[in-house]
Amino acid sequence: MAHTLTTCTFCGVGCGIYLESQGNRITGVYPSMSHPTNRGRICVRGWNVHEVASSPDRLKNPLLRKNGHFEEVTWEEAYAFIARRMHEIKVRYGPDALGFYNSPRCSNEESYLLQKLARAVIGTNNLEHGTGVYCNNSVDTLCEMLGVPASTNPISDLLDSGVIVVDGVDLGMQLPTIGGWIIRAKLQGAKVIVIDARRQRLAETADFHLQLRPGYRVALYGAMAKVIVDRGLMNLPFIKAHCENYEDFLRDIQAFDLVSVAENCGVPAEDIERAAIAYATAPSAAILYSTGVAARGKGSIRALVNLALLTGNLGKPGSGIYALTEHNNLQGVCDVGLLPDRLPGYGRVEDAKCRKRMESLWGVPLPTKPGLGAQEALDNKQKKLKSIWLLRYDPVNTAVFCNAAETLAEMELVVVQHLFMTSTAEFAHVVLPTVAFGEEEVTFTSTDRRIQLARKVIEPPGGPRPAWQQLTQMANALGVSWKYADSASIMAEITQVVPFYSGATYDNLGREYGRPWPCTTEHPLGTPRLFEDMPPQQRFKFGTVPKPFASFGPTPDYPVAVVFGSSLYYWHQNVLVKHSETLKRELRVLLLDYPEGFVEVNDEDARTLGIRDGARIRLVAPHGASTTTARVTPEVRSGTIYVPFFVKEVMRQITGEGAFEAVSRTKPLFVRLEKI
């Protein structure tokens, strides 16, 4: 028997867990009591990760499509085929006809090599992780306003917060360990403000549930900022010392009248006022929002960062902005450059200086223009892409923003690296089987910037290879001599390339519980809290506040606002979850109970309409109508309905738009509900 401390593979919290293994099987899992982030607690997914890891239902050998069906081939034959086809496509159409996309659950090592393959070997910036459409606004906004595209404080700081704002993310479902910290902080006296159209679990015990109508986030934050300014509660010394654009911000904020904002967004004015005062007068206050799988316009992110700057809530324990990553390595894949317009370390592709530095490190010239993101690639409207490489990514199932199946069917070359035969893999020309969690030593970076080792606990079954090894061998097959003997040597290169990872060797990471970046050679223990020693020249920028738009309200014909959700039921579709009996039952049960999909209707609204749970209803919009099943729940705000991302047909029928447009709308759509 062996007990190995490792990092959970599901969400961005990065809980410390022990995997128990016997012989060559993973036989158990339990939380680490000493880990600074979870301190002995994990969620139902973590408690069942051992079952996923031991699933016998996986791919063993490379598959090559011959005569319309898959045949098992050797690795050499697979690589040779891919190399030949890639070469042909590159010669015929140019390097920008090839694209490389992965999932935010990929490790740092394989992600780094994927973007290096794209940039340094093929010569394109057509690369991205699959949730870029959702989180890139956050990356850009935080870079612009704070200079760092990541959460500023460690998760454990929440216990020291006087006020915690949870904006639009159901922590109980997506990041339960963080939800737990907040519940416990509340038991110790913290005030919790939940800003969400949904009455989610944390709202049950919140001090304020600002259950706003969809589309009014910017207005709500604007009104809160104005309350703070009107009462003189801003932190002027902090603003004077460190913030730019304050005058513009002050001027723009005047447009947000508390009473009219309250009326428009459906939240009592006194609640907005009291919440704002609570936030501004707390000794330290934190704001949490989600960046993954929940599209958010730049305006609403700027608005909440503005609040933190207005009140000086940075750098001290219990304060900060948490740009939550819902996947275990969303932070890491961005850090190591899986972005079409940014290099590893976030330098812009178009910035000649950044590019030159990378060119000298890698020894090759690099493409100069930003490439196609995942959404553009998988939409492929202009048919620019001929070849797609997908690493651990299953867009046919999980990508809401495109009809991936259609696009992949038209490609000349589709290469899929995965653990299981996913729906996406059915469209591949070549499928390369990867090893599973626990079968390789790699790193993930958590939502609070903790770079952690995920250990090798058992030997993989004969056949599959680590994805990073496949990429190395692929580069070799393409004629480039990459030599990475192990994953540690890839991280060693990352420490040279990404400045804030410069101290993150496996040796250092393995000593305690990983290291929070910046983890540099000067500060090898890492930096749990950003901006702690605030030097006088530290600068932040207030973000431009868009004008509050006039109420685009409901009309008598179309009185119900539609909330298009993407993150809440994400795990229901995830391929790992299918391989655990418990998780399948817990997370996918909704798909069983509502086999034709569902939209969520508030229970009072259902009563008024005269329908019960499971009833067929019609949604009628100006553009079109859709028939679906109602799931009745008090969690949804009265006057709204919630459309989960996987009912793509419903979205298309009532908006006439692709699902992505629907999901990333800033103005809500209005419909009428009809009983059938």
Partner: protein
Amino acid sequence: MRARLVLQEDVLKIVDLLRRDHEVVAPFYGRGRDTFFDTVTDENLDRVQIHIPNPYYPPKRYVLPHIEQLFRIRKADGSYEIQSTYDQTKRAIFGIRSCDLAGIYHLDRFYLGREFRDPYYARRRANLFLVNVVCTDTQVDINDECYCLCTDTGPAAKAHFDLQLMDLGKGEFLAVAGSPAGEALFSAPFFRKATEEHVERRRRILSEVRHRFKTTTGWFSATVRYISQEKVLEKTWEAIGSRCLECGGCTYVCPACTCFTVTDRPTGPNEFERVRLWDACALYGFTRMAGGHNPRKAVHDRRNRRFFRKLAHYFIQRELSMACVGCGRCAEVCHGDVGMPSTIEMIRRATTEYLAHESAAH
């Protein structure tokens, strides 16, 4: 009397003795404060700890594994071959705590003591040798969440062990045999004669150790009464449920929780395995029926079910033991601080207040 004295330097010889014909697991340190039971080998023998925080991952998994294969099914020539997978390894747990022993006893009653005897559990249990170590080190063995005094399950178990070891200080351990198998070990030369003075020291240490616990009186009885008499208000359960994040942890770590589920998985073309896994009544799908009906949909209805199973008089009577052993793990694993101690307190406070108010009103 079936007690002997063992010198401190000889204690690990018991491990060696057992290793002759058992796979022995003992507690070890992981990183920081983490500890776990692991197989003793020549390589790690010198790292076996006697005084150590109780391993979090409960030793119930040696009789009820987190995941275990029950049987294999092979399809051949149009018919099915079924082959059971029994674990008959002789195993010894060195250093199991009194609370965890009480948990195993509770599991014995559930899996062996009723109409249907679980053959997998029975085999593991029959081959298990239990060496209980009494918690005496107030810094290390006992932590703030422990409450075995309230459940009357510790710190020194009265029964259900094969051998019990207790540190008497001054380099001496008292060894008590709890079964013929335990007594059989006494033939080894390092088991010396124990005297009345040793027994007296044991009594005195135990009465001192009691002071380490945060509370020594169980508020269980009040709560058992309220729950059994159905006096707990719906809104108390709702308050408890609002803090639960449905992780299942309390059930997984509880030494006295028995629930499991079963699933079939393909292991190859024409081959399946059936596995049994820990399950938790904390989870939504636990009571979901085919067809979709779920009598315990709301989270507070599931919390209610858990504490009813743990504390209602009906169950205590049925199992002849309470399904809580005072180990404190549920308090440590819970995100929302609604483990047993906190829940007991919430129920007791809310219900006492409500009843006092009711009687004042009349």
